[in-house]
């Protein structure tokens, strides 16, 4: 019985593994202005421009459909085989020609232009507090850069403008690419969710089996403890422990694992209680099997399907807890997670910038990953306990 969630799970895992290497941008690097919206949104601001001129391509021409960018930088080196007399010419709006740079006598021509440079502004006839790009760019007109004169033999010039828009998901308050932050977050969510649930399930299995199988005073003592732990709000405890102990990823996983085993322990215990009374366990006891042998070789395999479903159903809880703690700012700022992204959106003015692209992707990501795990857990539950399917049909 194929369920959509299994396919979705594999897609998510694949995205977590392959995503960061497929995306060219480094999630820690600033690529555009802060809070740049995604490119597919409307608006006056243009996307980032990154082109290069080289000996094989000495001309760049493009229709500029947006308002002038904040800045433009042109830098690079060209080398020549003979003594050059070349110039870099910008043809701006209305066919106006600007000579941006002229080569010297040497065969190496180093160009380093930044539109914020006052002397550069002066050469274009822009006042020191004006913006040079307003002369070079105009909405709905062509821009054209060309290397005129001697053809260079090697080298490259990079022309860059910071984008007013960026990528599929825009940028955050530090100008980082939200798409690569988002893909990085998949990994963290999966790691934390799975690792914390594995720890808590192992603990729950241990406690539940020993409690259910040993029974008596130990059982009632353990179950009292579980009741007490279940009646304390977990998030404040986690907050206090993380605040004292540290914000690292593994510490977080360990803490989450240590405080979420109670539900699994209860499920396993009730299973162990019924199994303990079953005939085959009694037979095993009568032929002298040790409790450890019965637990390990018979009860654990018996409990595994139920446990697998419990693990899968427990992952959303761990993911949500991690997201909650990160959202409160109690996570390592060097580790990108979806909760952290929402924390930064909340704390660093995404609201005043109207930056919905900082809030929707991580939030929807968390919800989708939780829904996938919930559905997978239900499917596994049905496999472990086929009566549930019949109940559905009725």
């Amino acid at each position: 019985m194929p369920r959509w969630s299994f396919a979705a799970f594999f897609i998510i895992v694949a995205a977590a593994i392959a995503g960061p290497s497929l995306l060219q941008t480094d999630p820690f690097e600033s690529v555009a202005r802060p809070f740049a919206p995604p490119v597919w949104t409307g608006g006056e601001e243009g996307p980032a421009l990154a082109v290069s001129l080289s000996p094989s391509k000495t001309l760049f021409e493009k229709k500029w459909n947006w308002s002038p960018p904040e800045n433009i930088s042109i830098r690079g080196t060209l080398s020549f085989e003979e003594d050059p007399s070349a110039s870099l010419v910008w043809t701006g709006p209305g066919g106006e020609r600007f000579v941006l740079a002229v080569s010297g006598d040497t065969r190496e021509w180093l160009i380093d232009i930044d539109a914020r440079d006052v002397s550069f502004k002066a050469s274009l006839g822009v006042p020191p507090f004006g913006n040079a790009t307003s002369v070079l760019f105009r909405n709905h007109e062509n821009i054209r850069v060309e290397i005129e004169g001697t053809t260079p033999s090697a080298g490259k010039i990079e022309i860059r403008t910071p984008g007013g828009k960026w990528g599929l998901m825009g940028t955050d308050q530090r100008g980082r690419d939200v798409l690569s932050l988002f893909t990085e977050g998949i990994r963290i969510s999966l790691i934390v969710g799975l690792a914390a649930t594995l720890i808590s399930s192992a603990l729950g299995l241990l406690v539940g089996l020993s409690s259910g199988y040993l029974g008596g005073k130990i059982d009632s003592f353990i179950m009292r403890g579980v009741d007490v732990l279940l009646s304390i709000p977990v998030l404040p405890i986690l907050m206090v422990i993380v605040g004292i102990w540290g914000k690292g990823l593994w510490q977080l996983i360990l803490i989450l694992g240590l405080f979420s085993w109670m539900g699994t322990a209860r499920t396993v215990r009730s299973l162990a209680l019924t199994l303990r009374e079953s005939c085959y366990v009694e037979n095993l006891r009568s032929i002298g099997a040790s409790p450890w042998y019965i637990l390990w070789r018979h009860l654990v395999p018996e409990a595994l399907p139920v446990l697998l479903a419990a693990v899968t159903l427990g992952v959303p809880g761990a993911i949500l807890a991690e997201a909650g703690l990160s959202f409160l700012g109690l996570s390592d700022p060097r580790i990108i997670s979806w909760g952290r992204m929402l924390h930064e959106a909340h704390g660093f003015g995404a609201f005043t910038a109207g930056a919905w692209w900082l809030i929707l992707p991580p939030g929807i990501g968390i919800s989708v990953i939780c829904l996938v795990f919930l559905d997978m857990g239900r499917a596994l539950e049905e496999i472990a306990d086929p009566r549930l399917v019949k109940g559905n049909r009725k």
Partner: protein
């Protein structure tokens, strides 16, 4: 006073003791000595010893623990590192806000959830039932703060219907009525978002219980007696599902308190949860410990209250012969 209540009180006391003990040890296992963080390392050993004596750190651990328990029980939490004011004064002003947030959201979400759940159970397979199941599974997987951030973005920033942050406007409006209205205006979004997130799972529980109960024989008998449908639903079926509903409420309480901490942070409410976070981030250990203690106390108190409600609703407990299940 029967054995049920003695058991309950013993349980509450155990939780309280656990919280106090956890508090006591948590803040003592942190790296470094409390003294070394506040005294200059150039102090002479004698001065350090005097400092330790002043804080009672030279006493044996069990004696320190008893002093700690006594002070916790008398709400003497010491001085806050951040504001230099008594912690209890800081917390006192915040408790009503947290209570208001928790109270309204709990009351509304349980009322709406119960009503919808009963409605859904009456008409199996209808649109309402599907909607209830859908909203329940949504509320399990959507992180509360995300929903709240979206609401904030929509209803406070894009369409400024509600205030962006805080419990009251600054400056506060004069007069009692405008103040109350202002307070409610600030409370609508936080409490409303908690209701929005909470009622779905509530409705699913109630619906499941009701569906089960409506299939039982005594409902058939009630129908045979010719009672009105409303009477069957509310006086017979719903009445008998009350104890399990209250039990679910008990189990959900800690999660609701956790949710309040996040909600207060999102909306910058002047509440205990936000105070806990601020103290933790500011390494204000007396305040953090006290806020944690107060949140635990709130949970215990509402646990006992729900137990009392359970007693009223379940005659088996009231009579003192609770069937062992």
């Amino acid at each position: 006073m029967n054995s049920y209540w003695i058991r309950r009180f013993a349980g509450a006391l155990a939780v309280l003791l656990l919280i106090i003990t956890a508090n006591f040890f948590l803040f003592r296992v942190m790296p470094g000595d409390a003294v070394s963080t506040i005294v200059d390392p150039r102090f002479s050993p004698e001065a350090k010893e005097k400092m330790r004596h002043l804080f009672g750190l030279d006493l044996p651990l069990h004696q320190q623990f008893f002093i700690y328990v006594r002070r916790m029980l008398s709400f003497d939490f010491g001085i806050s590192f951040l504001s230099q004011r008594p912690v209890w004064d800081e917390i006192k002003s915040r408790i009503p806000n947290t209570l208001a947030l928790l109270g309204t959201s709990l009351l509304l979400s349980s009322a709406i959830g119960t009503w919808l759940g009963v409605k859904a159970a009456r008409k199996r397979g209808g649109f309402l039932e599907k909607a209830v199941i859908f909203s329940g599974s949504i509320s399990f997987s959507f992180p509360s703060f995300f929903v709240q951030l979206v609401l904030l973005l929509l209803l406070a920033y894009t369409f400024p219907v509600f205030p962006l942050r805080g419990t009251v406007s600054i400056p506060m409006p004069s007069g009692t009525l405008p103040r109350v209205i202002d307070y409610i205006h600030h409370l609508i979004l936080p409490a409303g978002s908690l209701v929005l997130l909470g009622f779905g799972s509530w409705a699913i529980y109630v619906r499941n219980l009701m569906v089960k109960t409506l299939g039982e024989d005594f409902i058939l008998l009630a129908r045979a007696r010719g009672l009105s449908e409303d009477r069957i639903i509310w006086n017979h079926a719903f009445r008998s599902t009350l104890p399990p509903i209250l039990t679910i409420f008990l189990l959900a309480l800690p999660g609701i308190v956790s949710g309040a901490v996040i909600t207060e942070t999102v909306f910058s409410l002047h509440g205990v949860g936000k105070f806990l976070l601020d103290s933790i981030l500011g390494h204000d250990y007396p305040s953090a410990g006290a806020a944690f203690y107060i949140l635990g106390l709130l949970t215990i108190a509402s646990n006992l209250a729900a137990d009392a409600a359970c007693t009223l609703a379940d005659p088996r407990i009231r009579v003192g012969k609770r069937a062992e299940r």
